[in-house]
């Protein structure tokens, strides 16, 4: 190999090594932060559900929930996760413990950041579950079509409803897979 090709190869390898090093640094930092987040989530969920962790966290490729933790309370299997629900109008972080058939066992609001949501003293449920017509929030999706229920709050109702539907489906699928084994 002549000298010029050798120099090119060395330069290319140095650049690749630097890129690899940068990726490794970012990946290491992300594993550290994830580990810290996981620990915090596990503690919050164990406290909320009064349950113990029964296995490793499962990775869900969902925009609202990343990690689902299998829990057990008095021999009963449960699943816990921390959801990040919201859109450009605001975000809420919610710890949720679900039963194996996809029902909500317990919920806790961890934090809420209302970006441009209406200033309200009523708490996160009316902010994020929705205000519709004569009821505090619509009892079904058909009521959302009425003009007086169309408001910014109903965006968050849909987001919350969809996030929990997906979580319920995921948890039911997990429990079904475990039973199948």
């Amino acid at each position: 190999m002549d000298r010029q090709n050798k120099d090119s190869l060395v330069e290319n390898l140095s650049a690749a090594a630097l890129l690899g090093l940068l990726a490794l640094l970012v990946a290491s930092a992300s594993f550290l932060v994830d580990g810290h987040d996981e620990k915090g989530e596990q503690e919050a969920l164990a406290r909320l559900g009064g349950a113990k962790l029964s296995g490793k966290a499962l990775i869900a490729s969902d925009s609202s929930f990343r990690r689902v933790y299998p829990l057990v309370r008095k021999g009963r299997p449960l699943y816990g996760t921390v959801l990040s629900i919201g859109d450009q109008h605001g975000k809420a972080r919610v710890a949720a413990v679900m039963t194996a058939d996809g029902q909500v066992d317990s919920l806790q609001l961890l934090s809420v950041v209302p970006a441009d949501a209406p200033f309200s003293r009523e708490g996160w449920f009316t902010e994020f579950v929705g205000k519709g017509g004569g009821e505090s929030f619509p009892s079904n999706k058909a009521e959302l079509r009425r003009p007086d229920t169309v408001s910014a709050a109903t965006d968050s109702f849909l987001e919350t409803e969809e996030a929990f539907s997906r979580l319920s489906g995921y948890v039911s699928g997990l429990a079904g897979a475990v039973e199948g084994k």
Binding site: A29, S30, T154
Partner: protein, 194 residues
């Protein structure tokens, strides 16, 4: 979400320019390389960027728990691939394709392309839905830019105070358009297309 809901949401209630503010700088640029080459270039770049990014994130990064590296993957792998493709198109003999390639080359490292790619890959879309959302975002962006261009022409002929001629007046007009888009509630769009 149904495909219709994705298209309506991407064009109206989640318009790339008027709701997210992506691509403001090129939108206010006066000179263009022709409307059709720009539209085709934008559509191609967004299609490839969102598609490749979705595949990389779903099949490589998420299984390895390396989703924090998605920015590096875009900057180091996906953007150069699309730049190479745009230069390949620009080397064609047809003047139309040369302009498409040049416009695509500029659009790769822009907040419109990367922003739309990030939004569609971090939502819960399949590959087809992600590509459709990306293309619809382009349509919505381009529609807003066309309306702003015609507003700009009218402003140039109007007696606007000197300090507000050009970009400041156009920004205020964009704000008034965005106000109209605020009235398009995403819950309504979602329900209409159910």
């Amino acid at each position: 979400m149904s495909y219709l809901a994705i298209v309506l949401a991407s064009v109206f209630s989640a318009n790339a320019l008027l709701v997210y503010g992506f691509g403001i700088c090129p939108a206010f640029r006066k000179e263009r390389r022709g409307v059709w080459p720009q539209i085709v270039a934008l559509a191609l770049v967004n299609l490839f960027a969102s598609g490749l990014f979705w595949l990389a994130r779903r099949f490589i990064l998420l299984p390895l728990k390396l989703d924090s590296l998605d920015v590096i993957v875009y900057a180091v792998i996906i953007a150069p691939i699309i730049k190479y493709l745009s230069r390949f198109i620009a080397s064609a003999s047809s003047p139309f394709l040369v302009r498409v390639g040049a416009a695509a080359d500029e659009a790769v490292m822009s907040c419109l392309t990367f922003g739309v790619a990030l939004i569609v890959t971090r939502s819960d879309y399949g590959l087809g839905e992600a590509v459709l959302a990306s293309l619809s975002s382009c349509v919505g962006y381009w529609a807003a830019v066309m309306v702003l261009d015609s507003i700009r022409e009218r402003l140039e002929l109007s007696a606007v105070p000197p300090a507000f001629r050009g970009a400041p007046g156009l920004l205020i007009s964009a704000g008034l358009m965005a106000m109209a888009f605020l009235g398009i509630d995403s819950a309504l769009v979602h329900n209409l297309a159910r």
